[in-house]
Symmetry: C5
Subunit: 95 residues, 5 copies
């Protein structure tokens, strides 16, 4: 998984039928110190994450292993909202 | 998923039989501000996207989760046409 | 998928049994203007492509969705020979 | 697989239900000489690894091939703790 | 697939049970001229490759399509030992 900050949303009315009802979030991947790390990703939201929150997302076929995303053409899913990131006994992030 | 702009098409007459009938689009991945971000990708079109439109595409096995692409050797699919991208309350793209 | 030019071949006599009979091509990924874009890839050939031709290849599990490659440890397959690449009404490549 | 050093942990209380009970580790990928190589990754822990240990992790659908991770939206798993890395007869790492 | 040179081995005694009996090789990916190209990868050995040999490895779910690796948390496998690499009629590598 990667850590990311939710920075926005995508609206798409014309889409593959099975995508109906999914919410799409714009994610900025971050490193363990919450610095930007890599290109933005759009992920389906499986946990009700909001803009500004730090989350974990899973990519590839693993992104289809949630109730909301199974059998859907989705390659990234937010599957957890992060409370704390600790690196070598130092608290790097706390919600 | 990644955001991308449709910039062109690929014609290929000699191909694996099961690919018959698919339309192949040349995509330029973009970031949330619509700036180019990464190498071009060729994706199957599942939603009738046209050159110039901003779309979302899914990669890997998830690209086979549409009616058009299932069981086909396709690793990228355009599965939605984007209407709006909003980042931190600012409208970054509107169709 | 990615566009690539076939630049060579790989011969491997000692291999997993199920790979018997596959032909392996060395590919140089290219962008829409046929400039090199990324590291060489070795792909199984599902369409009878020759050195010098421009092709499309699929990666990951999708590379196993051809008759030749199913159930084989192959993560890239040439699934089409490209006739034309058009970008914004300009013909970038014609066979 | 990639080599990595376990550098921290992630706590996430709000998450997809099926993730209950998994432990999430922050990994710093390393090369064969234990130098940092690439962005941090968050992986599920299948072997009881501790901070400071050098491990191997698997990505993608292969990350779901452990008892702990099957059918879960997890795209990276620590599946072994490394005892020794030897490169060209030279011991690069020993636990 | 990618070309790589086998440069070492990894020993890991504490690991997911199903990994018992697999041999792990440290690979240095190379381009068609045998120059280093990218970070080292650890792969399971399905063909009895030795240090110094040039091999092909497959990644992702395709790495589980060998008898040795099926249903195991392995995302890279050496599936062939390379005898020859030819690029544009020039022999770039011969065993």
């Amino acid at each position: 998984m990667q850590l990311a900050q939710v920075i926005g949303t995508v609206v798409a009315s014309r889409k593959e039928d099975v995508l109906e009802g999914l919410r799409f979030l714009v994610l900025r991947p971050v490193d363990a110190s919450m610095n930007a790390a890599g290109n933005v990703v759009v992920a389906a939201d499986a946990v009700g994450a909001g803009v500004g929150e730090v989350v974990m997302f899973a990519s590839g076929s693993s992104a289809r292993q949630t109730q909301l995303t199974q059998n859907r053409p989705v390659d990234a899913v937010v599957m957890a909202i992060v409370d704390q990131v600790t690196v070598e006994d130092s608290l790097k992030y706390e919600k």
